[in-house]
Amino acid sequence: MGDDGVGFHVVKELAKEIKDENIDVKDTSADGLNLLELIIGYDKLIVIDAIVTEGEKVGRIYRLKPEDVCEPLRSVISSHHFNLTTTLEIGKRLFPEDIPKEITVFAVGIQEVSKVTEEMTVKVKEAIPRVMDLILEEISSG
């Protein structure tokens, strides 16, 4: 929905570009254990999503590691509370062999998350080809 759906649009375009059968391009709204089940068995993981920011930073692309994205491990008080770090930590501890060794997060800065719309704002839309290039470069560099 709107700018928050930037990851979905990038993935849709990437799926057209990437022909390598060793690479799966997946669109998901999963978090927590659902996300964990989805990433088990891969060597490398690239995540693309939106990140809330302000002003000039809208449309900016951030290349991050999971630990930069959210607060570190915290007590899981409901299954709604599995953040990315917690999810990956559970994976690392339980399935150390099967969790991707290398995880990179590409985040596009957005400002509006609560507006219900299918349209993206210009700055975010313009970031799509740039982030695609960065991801393709990341893939080709191995």
Binding site: L33, N34, E37, S75, V76, S78, S79, H81, E89
Partner: protein, 474 residues
Amino acid sequence: MTRKIIIDRVTRVEGHGKVTIHLDDEGNVAQARFHVTQVRGFEKFCEGRLFWEMPVITARICGICPVSHHLASAKAGDAILGVEPPPTAKMLRRLIHMAQILQSHALHFFYLASPDLLFGMDADPAKRNIMGIIAEMPEIAKKGIKIRAFGQKIIEMLGDKRVHPNAAIPGGMNKTFSPNKRDEILSQVDDVIADCRFAVDLIKDYCAQHGEEVTSFASFSTSYLGLVDNNGNVEYYDGKLRLKDSKGNVLENDVAPENYLSIIEERAEDWSYLKSPYYKKLGYPHGMYRVGPLGRLNVADGCSTPLANKEFRDFKKLGSNGIVQGSLYYHYARMIEMLNAAEEIKSLLQDELICSKEIWVSSSIINEEGIGVIEAPRGTLFHHYWVDKSGKIRKVNLIVATGNNNLAMNRAVYEVAKEFIKNGKVTEGILNRIEVAIRCYDPCLSCSTHALGHMPLEVTIYGPDGNILQVLRR
């Protein structure tokens, strides 16, 4: 003297809530309430939508049990169309439903409830959580992941997505099940059944070792409600409603689900957004009944599958006249059901009919009313729609599992509060125990008020004059 106690953060439940406890002049518990503080309004904003869309819209009520809403909604749609889906469609609906019971029960037991049981209710909350289990008992945590992933995989196969499925439609299902997928699942099911047996043994041993506490903790008399099949076995998808009292007497039997309003009424209270359903003939609040794993096992005569049925027999021996009342027994009942679901999955997959292409039946009828009832993981779920001649929703009534258990959860909190607050003295451990009591019911507050998001639960204790005495926070 006036005292108020607030317990802030009742954790590891799904959704928002808080607890208040009122003390009398002697400082003993006069009243305890579990407030659900979120409101969502699904019933209202579905108005005007076509009934065809409802299985997909109402699945969004919950991220844990979307399949239950999806199926109850499709069943209400069947009734509006005046049709019975073909046998294969019913089998596929059962399959996805059993897969969800499996994943939801596994998530709750291994990830939300097991820390209380394996580390003890008085253990430090910093350790009494899933990360503690992973650190100290990783094999148990892995089994939880495995069982859940198996259920989620079936849901994804049938519904395209792991969370909000698109599988059932009024009149049947929207896609067939291929023999390849069937074989893939079938090759894994025995492993999952073995893991479910491990889980049953784990909770069975716990109950045996902590007999006194399990029997007395948040134990109280209520009626019980659930669906049973023609043989009186626990039934999750179809069947008739049965209601038993705390002594095991059958109060209602063979009630067609569409006649639920002849036995159930709802009361709205100004202290909670969650309505309180009760058994009509006993009135409010004496008509309090419990649903979910404990409710289902208490009303039924058996389980449909051999291993679960054997466990069912052992379980029934714990109560008088087969009625088991302690709230902690919910966990035990939940694991027997998880085993039952895994065995059911195997038996459904072994029937060739499941891969038949006849999965939908059309109809030109649009009845003005449709009711779909199902046993969701947390208990009986009612979807009741009224539509106009074009099939647009005029009115919706949803009674969800957690709603059915509302009065009982309040009572559970009261029982625990009474035990731990005497003469104005609040014993340490009350906070943990109130959490544990509520968690037995695996309440999904998002579902029950159809609300989104999460917030820790809060407990407040009031003196007789209404002043706040104490706030317990973590």
